[in-house]
Amino acid sequence: MAALECRGVTKVWGESTDREVVALQDIDLVVGRGEFVVVIGPSGCGKSTLLKLLAGLETPTAGRLLHGGQVISGPEVDRSLIFQQPSLYPWLSALDNVAFGLKLRGVPRAERHRQAEEFLRQVGLREFARKHPHELSGGMQQRVAIARALCVGADTLLMDEPFAALDVQTRYQMQAFLLDIWHGTGKTAVFVTHHIDEAVYLADRVVVLTARPGRVLDSVSIDMPRPRSVVGEAFERYRALLVERLRAEVARAFQEQELVEMLDTRIK
């Protein structure tokens, strides 16, 4: 059964203004329950926009989005989004940030702190519970954000380049941690990344978007047993395939960008 469905989804930002941008066009995408889908595509192709639509933070210009067969009409706690940019509350400690969703639900203080502490421990930041976001590195902040999303117990995790700021070592750790959670709980995951290795390592299926306006260019199932190794012939084959797909799109995006700039300078 499908957990998430996009049916002919189009998103236009700033519609009928002079700054109209078609971010997504005619996206058809079905994510199965418990499936781990990774979305890749050139910068600016609408990946973040897609996640915001799935989270219910924005409404599509055309088309329908469904979650468990129900039309998505707004944010729900069972679909959690981890943002691309820092989104922790600077006035709350790491612990209170993680516990924030529980606080909104009226969970008593001691109980929500107990649960939040457990998630902080899982992302390896238990000793940092009392620190505030500005005292944490960018990667640590992102791990707190992951703990915050997990703490509300969503069954669908939408993640927008959550590991982009992490060093290689921590990134591997967090990937393994994420797979553990996903495996152990049967959560559905939609994960955006720029790293092709990460995509191949994590995904059941990699969805490649075209340059703006984003359409689904290709959908590649990764048929490799888990736990996966990042070396070996199968891994390299998938990697090469995705790199090839992306390279053509990125080149097209660049050409388009140059063309726009050229026209701009002409007009000036």
Binding site: A55, S80, F83, S87, P90, G101, L104, R105
Partner: protein
């Protein structure tokens, strides 16, 4: 192996020792910084005092109009009868009465600012939340905001008579409209990702307002209160000079009307000192309680 065992206990305490000594070095550097700054303060003020005293001693200035510092500060001892209008504090000696005037003025500023802050943030929040309220009130508020606190004094005295409340009203009304505008602006400028994050975590409208928009906006509003502190201070002093017959502003005027410039200068010195201390106290609150704005701006 034996060597290894011996080496360990020697190496272990070495680490805390270096961090401790580094911390000590850092705090002694800070103390040195404070002392150096203090020396410059003393030098700067000392220079003015010495020049003033010298000019008086050489009869270059008239000590009746410009009494030298040692005279007007010495005045504290025998000003009891002029500083009589005591507000709440028992008059047990002359010093205490000067203190009374300070207490009266400071109280008025702080109460006025506090009421304006609460009312401004409340009104601003309502205007931010409801478009109709915003559209109906903001144009008027925008026109009232630039009226400086002192400009409200005549109305205050007519409406509230010569008492605490007219001084408080001057501060309140002089800041309230500005703060209402600033609240709407600060709340509009809250990073949308903070609001989106709360929505994803299941926050309702009221919860977003209380747990996200308000804490995100408050440091900017407190900045504004601090910037308006001197305006409020001026408003209270001016009100005390022209009608409200107690407080530091009144002392300065009493000195003038009795041609006792020692008293006037004593009042002026206290106005400067207290104004500075108030600003410093506000700065402390900003750093200690509302630190997150600065921390995130870094």
């Amino acid at each position: 192996m034996i060597e290894g065992l011996q080496a360990q206990p020697a190496a272990a305490p070495a680490l805390p020792a270096t961090t401790a000594s580094r911390a000590r070095a850092r705090s002694s550097a800070r103390i040195r910084g404070v002392v150096v700054a203090g020396v410059w303060w003393v030098l700067s003020i000392g220079l003015v005092v010495v020049a003033w005293e010298a000019a008086a001693a050489l009869h270059l200035i008239d000590p009746v109009i410009l009494p030298p510092p040692h005279e007007f500060i010495g005045e504290i001892r025998n000003q009891a009868q002029f500083l009589m209008p005591a507000v709440g504090v028992e008059r047990t000696g002359a010093n205490f009465v000067a203190l009374t005037a300070i207490v009266a003025s400071v109280q008025r500023v702080l109460i006025g600012l506090f009421l304006a802050f609460v009312a401004g943030v409340l009104t601003g929040s309502v205007a931010f939340s409801f478009a109709i309220v915003r559209k109906l009130t903001l144009p008027t508020v925008t026109l009232l905001a630039p009226i400086a606190p002192v400009a409200w004094i005549p109305l205050a005295i007519v409406a509230f008579g010569v008492g605490d409340w007219s001084a408080i009203f001057v501060v309140f009304v002089g800041i309230y409209f500005t703060l209402t505008l600033a609240t709407v602006k600060a709340m509009t400028n809250v990073d949308p990702v903070y609001v989106d994050a709360a929505r994803v975590l299941g926050a309702r409208r009221g919860q977003i307002m209380r747990h996200v928009v308000l804490p995100a906006a408050i440091p900017a509003l407190f900045d504004l209160v601090r910037m308006n502190l001197f305006g409020a201070w001026m408003g209270v002093l001016a009100a005390e000079m022209v009608g409200v017959n107690t407080g530091l502003g009144a002392i300065v005027m009493v000195g003038r009307s009795m041609m006792n410039m020692n008293l006037t200068f004593l009042g002026m010195a206290m106005i400067g000192l207290v104004g500075y201390l108030l600003d410093a106290a506000f700065g402390l609150v900003q750093r200690r309680v509302l630190w997150w704005r600065r921390a995130t701006e870094l």
